[in-house]
């Protein structure tokens, strides 16, 4: 007789052409926070969807409290006490918190829905966690984190005993993450078993008890978090020891390629770029650190010609240039790989080939003739250069994994043969294996003479990859640190200049858990 709250045994699930899960085992204790770790496509989501009754597994059994249960649909999962909080929140924005919590099971009074009762009960549930959320407010007015809290409260209102959270911290601030963890611990102490999916390894130590690693749809192992190391987990996820996670041959004092002076976004309200000056040297990786909203992306968008009305002087190779549009920038050899590949980067339904060549159409479309051979050559060149894994050139880019999408996007701008490549969060939402590959490629590119500006919110990445780090705060550059002197503390001090003055000690709170050096 097992004493597991939840036990999944030998679960297999197949999609046409893909074995998404093969003979996977998973056990969850009551009162435990259990991380589920794996690269994109490792089968985490599939396993969760099997648990939630969204997919039906071909093989395998699920036991709750040692009793076998059949979960054939979402309602069966709910009755078994399983609640899933999906990555993309599914709430009705223009309904109140109470209406969302009771959606589909509203308490009925004499004249339709008993709104008063609904709000009252919702408020009681919310107050149990001391959330400071008003049940009569519209979801629309809440922050993402608060919406997540509401989702959790809703899950608990179903008397759930097994709570699954799919990357809940991917879009909320660090302070809110703390609050979320607090609630998770609180729930666990009441005996709820929590399955926690996250890409952020650093969060494991913070909140999780055990961790199970999946790779390519198979079960790799389970560890107690306190007794394992980050390196071991990465090795389990990737399937091999990563001999080197960061690859960087630092350079120093090479000639200046790009000089930007007094860059200003020219905005009167919500000014994000305020008299920013910096320079980039040949073969350098220049890091831009700072908090979200410090104006790093906005600065680069000014330089790339995306912000109308921006001012400042840009000097490239000693000559002053004028950039009014992104086309100008690319002509001079400055390219920008945007931060958010979903929104700003990819043409999702289009092919790898379309996405790879959209910047360089002039190379193969001339006089109403399309040189398909040349198009295929260019596509292949950057698939090879970036080690992109794709079944064909015609594959829709949306079907690739996050890492490969990122590679396609970087390759697209490499095709413009830039002298200076601006990369805004180059490894966001990319799994560890692909991350290491991207670092290696960045190092290789700079060796060939390219200069890279890298905006990153991941301090370890900045610390290990950049030759010099500019730190921004509130639209201004607050300092520049050489790689010999760079440290997490030095960056945070500059990144939170103002907070530091008003409120000592708060500075370390930000991103500190992520800064744990790899």
């Amino acid at each position: 007789m097992s004493n597991y709250l939840l036990e999944m045994k030998h679960v297999s699930k197949e999609f046409p052409g893909v074995k998404a899960l093969q003979n996977v085992d998973f056990q969850l204790l009551s009162g435990e926070i259990h991380a589920l770790l794996g690269e994109n496509g490792a089968g985490k989501s599939t396993l969760i969807k099997v648990l939630g009754g969204i997919y039906i597994a071909e093989e395998g059994e699920i036991f709750i409290d040692g009793k076998k249960v059949d979960i054939n649909n979402v309602n069966a999962a709910r009755e078994a006490g399983i609640s899933i909080i999906h990555q993309e929140l599914v709430q009705v924005p223009h309904m109140t918190v109470a209406e969302n919590i009771f959606l589909g099971r509203e308490p009925m009074g004499k004249f339709g829905v008993d709104i008063r009762k609904m709000v009252k009960e919702s408020q009681q549930m919310l107050d149990r966690f001391d959330l400071g959320i008003n049940a009569a407010d519209e979801i629309f007015d809440l922050s993402i984190a608060q919406q997540q809290m509401v989702e959790i409260v809703k899950a608990i209102s179903f008397n759930c005993r097994i709570l699954v959270m799919d990357e809940p911290t991917s879009s909320i601030s660090d302070r809110e993450v703390e609050q979320l963890f607090e609630i998770m611990r609180n729930l666990a102490s009441q005996g709820v078993g929590i399955i926690y999916i996250s890409h952020k390894m650093s969060e494991l130590n913070e909140v999780c008890d055990r961790v199970t690693v999946l790779r390519d749809g198979t079960y790799v192992g389970t560890r107690v978090v306190a007794e394992t190391t980050k390196d071991e987990l990465i090795a389990l996820m990737v399937g091999r020891e990563l001999d080197q996670y960061y690859t960087r041959d630092h350079v120093k004092d090479t000639e200046v390629v790009l000089k930007c002076e007094h860059i200003d976004d020219g905005k009167k309200h919500h000014k994000r770029v305020n008299d920013v000056s910096f320079e980039v040297r040949k073969g350098e990786i220049v890091g831009f650190a700072g908090l979200v909203g410090a104006g790093r992306s906005e600065t680069m968008q000014c330089i790339f010609g995306l912000t109308r009305g921006s001012t400042g002087t840009i000097t490239l190779d000693g000559k002053q240039i004028s950039i009014k549009t992104p086309v100008d920038a690319m002509k001079y050899g400055i390219s920008l790989v945007p931060e958010n590949r979903k929104v700003e980067g990819l043409y999702h339904i289009q092919s790898v080939s379309f996405n790879s060549t959209i910047e360089v159409l002039h190379l193969f479309i001339k006089n109403l003739m399309v040189n398909r051979k040349k198009e295929a050559e260019i596509t292949q060149e950057f698939i090879d250069k970036m080690h992109t894994k794709t079944p064909s050139h015609e594959q829709a880019v949306t079907n690739l994994s996050g890492g490969n999408q990122q590679k396609v996007m970087i390759g697209r701008w490499l095709a413009t043969e830039p002298k200076v490549l601006i990369m805004d969060e180059p490894t966001r939402g990319v799994d560890v294996g692909a991350k290491a590959e991207i670092y290696e490629i960045m190092n290789e590119l700079t060796k060939q003479g390219m200069s890279i500006i890298m905006i990153s919110s991941e301090l370890p990445e900045i610390i290990n990859m950049a030759d010099r780090v500019y730190v921004m705060y509130d639209g201004r550059i607050t300092g520049c640190i050489d790689y010999e002197d760079v440290s997490q503390e030095a960056i945070m001090k500059l990144a939170t200049l103002e907070t530091d003055q008003h409120n000592n000690g708060d500075a370390g709170n930000l991103n500190s858990q992520e800064a744990a050096k790899a």
Partner: protein, 318 residues
């Protein structure tokens, strides 16, 4: 050769539907003797010609993620203006024709300008210009048809070149130009890019405003050309012509496999879509189906065609 194969594979569903319709009309006793005659084939093509012109523009507009509701009204307006220029103002036919086409282009330009420079959705902008164009047609003609019977006028819609109806020739020329434009120019690719992801297109350095401007102007040009073709075939500029033409064009584009959410679609599919709608209209007439019933049947066929395509795509996607 690979291209032809691919074309058949991509459009298999609607090609089968088209062939099934042709086969049915050939076998069906009432239409057996009339359907596949040269006369009737030219008839179908002539009736489809203006729809294909509109659908070429509409395909690009829809790939761009937009919609153009104004084309039907532009048909009426351009026909009226062209005929009025010739009949009332004594201008040569060629000038009348140019005025008609130009009026369409101007409306397209205005649609494009507003859509590119503001954030008003194309549906709203073209809904407004649809009413304005219709209004201009009614005001200018005072609601009466403007008759024009000269040979030069009749040539574009009712004439022949070497036995082939002129509008059929116009249709193929327009189609070829549109195909070359969409598939073999940078702007063509940019249309797919803007429709697929507007923000990404901006980061790609694509002048999204210019692309929208060009595409809506092209749609206006097509509507102007269709307008003068119809006015020529009817020997008159009439403010009621082109009623509902935008819906036939949208139907053809959608049946042809272009996604209403933008970013994907092919003119090759649109061609088949136009033929399906053309043969459907023609076949129902030949079979003597009451015209009131024709609407219902047409609607059902459109739904069925799109649904089949949806099922096919879902299978491919999973």
């Amino acid at each position: 050769m690979i291209k032809v194969k691919r074309y058949f594979k991509d459009n298999l569903g609607i090609i089968i539907a088209l062939l099934a319709m042709i086969l049915f009309l050939y076998v069906y006793p009432k239409t057996h003797n009339t359907f596949l005659t040269q006369n009737n084939i030219f008839n179908v093509l002539r009736q489809s010609s203006t729809n294909l012109m509109l659908a070429c523009g509409m395909t690009m507009v829809i790939i761009l993620g937009g919609i153009d509701l104004s084309v039907g009204s532009i048909i009426a307006m351009s026909g009226v203006l062209g005929a009025a220029a010739v009949v009332w103002h004594g201008l040569p036919e060629i000038v009348g024709i140019l005025i008609a086409i130009l009026s369409g282009v101007i409306f397209g330009l205005l649609n494009g300008l507003v859509i590119a420079k503001t954030k008003i959705p194309p549906f709203i902008v073209t809904l407004a210009s649809m009413n304005i164009a219709k209004g201009i047609a009614y005001v200018y003609s005072e609601g009466k048809p403007i008759r024009c019977m000269t040979d030069a006028w009749k040539f574009l819609g009712a004439g022949n070149v070497a036995g082939i109806p002129t509008p059929v020739i116009t249709m193929f020329v327009v189609f070829v130009i549109a195909v070359l434009f969409l598939n073999r120019t940078k702007i063509g690719r940019h249309i797919y890019a803007v429709g697929g992801n507007d923000t990404a297109a901006k980061f790609s350095g694509i002048d999204t405003a210019k692309v929208k401007f060009i595409v809506f102007s092209f749609s206006g040009l097509m509507a102007g050309l269709a307008g003068i073709t119809i006015a020529s075939r009817l020997y008159s500029g009439t403010c009621t012509s082109g009623d509902g033409a935008e819906m036939d064009a949208i139907a053809a584009v959608v049946v042809g496999g272009t996604s209403m959410s933008g970013g994907s679609g092919k003119l090759g599919g649109t061609l088949i879509g136009v033929l399906i709608i053309g043969i459907l209209n023609n076949g129902l007439n030949l079979m003597g189906v009451n015209s009131d019933w024709q609407y219902i049947i047409k609607g059902a066929v459109i739904l069925l065609a799109v649904y089949t395509d949806f099922l096919r795509n879902r299978k491919k996607g999973s």
